[in-house]
Symmetry: C2
Subunit: 581 residues, 2 copies
């Protein structure tokens, strides 16, 4: 194998250009095999494989700096920069993260996982270089899908005003995770259709020099093009057209499905989409039916429809009641707020990690205007995720904003009742933390009137110890209660708070009568979260309060079980703490 | 006066067009007089005065919807929509807010104060209209300065893809608050220079129809132009050139100075810039000197240099060590992070209210990468500000992010020591909450080693009650201590925490020995803030904790004194609470 000879980018430069295609095939096979085994970003990595080889052939990292947007397309980069063992040896398949990670390698500049940041980061790198009178190439690599994000556009605006070397590779595969949305994409299409010759050119309007390459999967042409811009003394856009999933027919034909895949994607003989109901399928079905009966219902996503079960079929059936605004979470919140203020019923679905983009929009565009939108927050909870995609900060982020009603259901019926109430009410911005656990159904319709805010539900009346189990952690509360009963011989009270954003003062006050310990459990970081508010309430009383949740940290692919132990979230540990009191 | 006849926009339509210029002069005089009396946004309102008259002459609000970006330019709109009493009668000068406010009037759609939101909001309004099969004009009014914000660009990308009426007035006065920055502004200049005829047109690349009007302060031409786009069936940009400060010579000549003015701006005979040292002047001076001795120091602002005392002279002297990235807070954080990672020393100055734009960038671009930037957060604290510009949320926003070190100094020497440490250290992202009180100087150099994190300072060792007074509220802690001594006859302990982002466990543990009450005071909302963490620490102990700070709400121009009483922040109220225990 040619790859055997390559341990650093320096080695790559010794390879004859005519052998690079062979190398590309080797890398492609390795990536396909590895990703099929572990899961991961299949299609993006196949699409940019040749570009990455060409980049390392022409430029000299780590002196030259390459900054990948999202960095989910960095597999070839990792393979060429000393980390091929993580791709060739199944024993090492989990050794490296799926994103750039400076702690792994000097060829990686930043830990990146959210979109649309590369150009802004590259601006800082280029500016530092210029201040220090250093000379090297700064290269940002950004996909067309990421261009719609505000941070990318802010970055482009400033990058264009540099008077020094600044290279931006726009990797245009005519796809976001799903299809692209927005006016910008018509211009990219025009540029593709005119071989980059159209007078009206988005990048040129910003002041960039501009080079177009149709054959973005052709290494020879890529090298030729990149050599032209190497050591350039001003900002330039290199607009290359690539094929997402290139070289793997089934991925080329199913680009969205192969964006991120589960292990074994290529081994499946039949369509194994689970027919079992879960909170995602439940929600998609609910929205679909709601939209059919009410033409003012709009499902909104910011570029990640697949996550929410918004299949191509769902999208086409919802028609104008489906809005994918592209990767543009800030816009999505303002858009939803104005829809609600104008009498429509927007449902914005978003992942906990990505809702982080929207703090100011939640505060100013939404909550200050008290617009009755429904925001569904997915994946919230402590997990073994990459540090770039943690879903543990949404409670502090969302719940400290005035006017917001943030709900945390514990089962199917509660969730549906909250959803229904939220969509039909007109008084509050409502967010619902979609349970991130297996679906639990009580079989009994929840008839709670959620317009009476901040009313917690006592699920089990007991004594001495009261356990507030929020959302996902309601079941942990039940386990702890069982354990207390068994080991300590009394029945504690179990409470399902349901409302994250408010205190049920009467209930908490009542607990003082025959309880002396209150325990809060929340599936997210403690700092700024739900439990601290309960503790504050009891600050001047005799009640002891123990708060359980995650620590303020960025754990990186630490298994959830290990984190639970670290955070003392096992029933055994909690019981131990109770005993100490 | 012609204005006497106008109580609603309907009345305006009865005015002969040739009288509109007279009306404009009347309105101009009223605005100048009022703003000179109360302070406010002088130049933006004078610039858009004629446009506003023309808008209300051509369109029919509240059926047609006008959405103003930032909405600091809405004075003429208010005068024409039934609120002229707030501008003509000095007794009513404070009756209406300086921003659009739906609670005041049906002609205002949203409460808005942050930039770059109008197009996104208009998308929601237009979409709701289309879903409901209604028919009216949706008009977003946005200034050139606001266009650089990510939310605006995200909004434009989506607005362009509408297939229905959508009018965007780009009010181009060739100014942000200060001068514009970024590639986009070269295109606006090109469009102005070519009378809108340049082939390469930023708005057209996004797919907008486009109309240019040079004479944006000419009512007749404005009406003619707006009539062309009224009831249009697709998205159109109306690019108008206006003069910021139009009709007030001194404002035309000093556009930045007259963007927002203090009362009496026109009455001053001499330059009354205070020569007294304050935290702003101190900081600007410090940065200037630091930058001179270290070429890697960069001062960064996102479009609001004046707030930080970055005068035109400062900017020109700092040269390439000064970066105004335009209104683009997200970009600014990522940019600073990358500068720091590349060995430079960035100092990003930002107002508490606007730092809200950057949560995800603080988390992902900055703290996950542990980049040693210095972020100076101004104006943090409870004040009588508009609900759109509250500065009470920065503690929950910033301090719950892992790796961040958020410092809260209480006097000049402490502040300078922190600043110096922050700029020179290379391990942590550091934010400093610049004191928002009168400058206090101890005259004694602070030699604390701030690299030892989370070490609180015991300013006065006492007993029974320990008071943690954070930042601005350190002095309140001293007052409370005095009062306790006087009224209760013992000396409480007074602590200056200095670190917002961490707990001094040893000190808090030690307090248990001879204290039974701990009080926390913070100048911001309590929810998710500093005090709750102290309370959590003591949750399982005998110590009683009382947290003082703001409530989770959006107070709108409520005087600080009133808020302090509401939040029980007077020494008397705090003493009363202590007595109860």
């Amino acid at each position: 194998m040619i790859l055997d000879k390559i341990n650093t980018p320096k080695d790559l430069k010794q390879i004859k250009t005519e052998e690079l295609d062979v190398l590309a095939n080797e890398v492609r096979e390795i990536i396909i095999k590895k990703v099929n085994s572990t899961g991961g970003h299949m299609a993006p990595n196949l699409g940019i494989l040749e570009t990455t080889i060409a980049l390392h052939y022409v430029f000299e990292t780590p002196i030259d700096k390459i900054i990948y947007d999202v960095s989910h397309q960095c597999y070839t980069h990792k393979i060429l920069t000393g980390r091929k063992d993580g791709f060739t040896n199944p024993d090492n398949y989990y050794k490296y993260t799926g994103y750039t990670a400076p702690e792994e390698c000097e060829h990686d500049l930043f830990k990146v996982g959210h979109t649309s940041t590369s150009v802004s980061l590259a601006c800082g790198v280029a500016k530092a270089r210029d201040l220090k009178n250093e000379h090297y190439n700064v290269i940002a690599v950004i996909g067309d899908g990421s261009l719609s994000g505000g941070e990318a556009l802010e970055g482009l605006n400033n990058a264009a005003s540099f008077n020094s070397n600044f290279i931006i590779i726009v990797n245009d595969n005519d796809m976001s995770i799903a299809e692209n949305h927005g006016g910008l994409y018509n211009n990219l299409k025009l540029l593709r259709d005119t071989n980059g010759q159209a007078e009206n050119n988005f990048f040129k309007t910003l002041g960039f020099d501009y080079i177009y390459l149709k054959d973005g999967n052709n290494i020879e042409k890529l090298i030729e093009t990149l050599k032209k811009v190497k050591d350039i003394d001003h900002p330039v856009i290199v607009h290359i057209c690539t094929q997402k999933g290139n070289g793997l027919k089934v991925a080329e034909d199913n680009k969205e499905k192969f964006h991120w895949v589960m292990p074994g994607i290529l081994d499946e003989e039949t369509n194994t989409t689970s027919s079992e109901e879960n909170y995602t399928s439940l929600t998609a079905k609910y929205i679909y039916e709601k939209a059919k009966e009410d033409q003012t219902v709009v499902a909104i996503t910011a570029g990640t429809p697949g996550v929410f079960g918004f299949t191509p079929d769902f999208r086409s059936k919802l028609g104008k009641q489906y809005s994918d605004v592209g990767i543009a979470e800030e816009h999505a919140v303002a858009y939803a707020s104005a829809l609600a203020k104008s009498g429509a019923k927007p449902i914005f679905t978003v992942m906990s990690s990505f809702v982080q983009r929207t703090y100011d929009q939640l505060s100013q565009d939404l909550c200050l205007n008290n617009s009755p939108i429904t925001m569904l927050v997915y994946w919230g909870g402590i997990s073994g995720a990459d540090a770039t995609h943690l879903c543990t900060f949404d409670i502090p982020l969302i719940s400290n904003i005035p006017n917001m009603v943030y709900l945390s259901p514990t089962n199917k019926e509660e969730y549906l009742a909250m959803l229904n109430w939220s969509i039909e009410q007109t008084k509050h911005p409502v967010a619902i933390r979609v349970p991130n656990i297996e679906l639990v159904s009580t079989g009994i319709e929840d008839k709670t009137d959620y317009s009476i805010l901040n009313k917690y539900k006592v699920e089990k009346q007991g004594e001495k110890v009261a356990i507030l189990g929020l959302g996902n952690f309601y079941y942990l509360a039940c386990e702890v209660a069982e354990k207390i009963k068994k080991d300590l011989g009394f029945e504690p009270t179990v409470i399902n708070p349901r409302f994250i954003t408010g205190i049920d003062k009467r209930l908490l006050e009542d607990l003082k009568h025959n309880h002396n310990i209150v325990i809060t459990l929340e599936d997210g970081v403690l700092d700024g979260g739900f439990g601290e508010k309960i503790t504050r309430f009891y600050g001047n009383s005799e009640i002891k309060v123990l708060n359980y949740g995650g620590f303020k940290e960025f754990p990186d692919r630490i298994p959830a079980e290990e984190l639970h132990r670290r955070y003392r979230l096992t029933p055994e540990q909690i019981l131990e703490d109770i005993r100490k009191l």
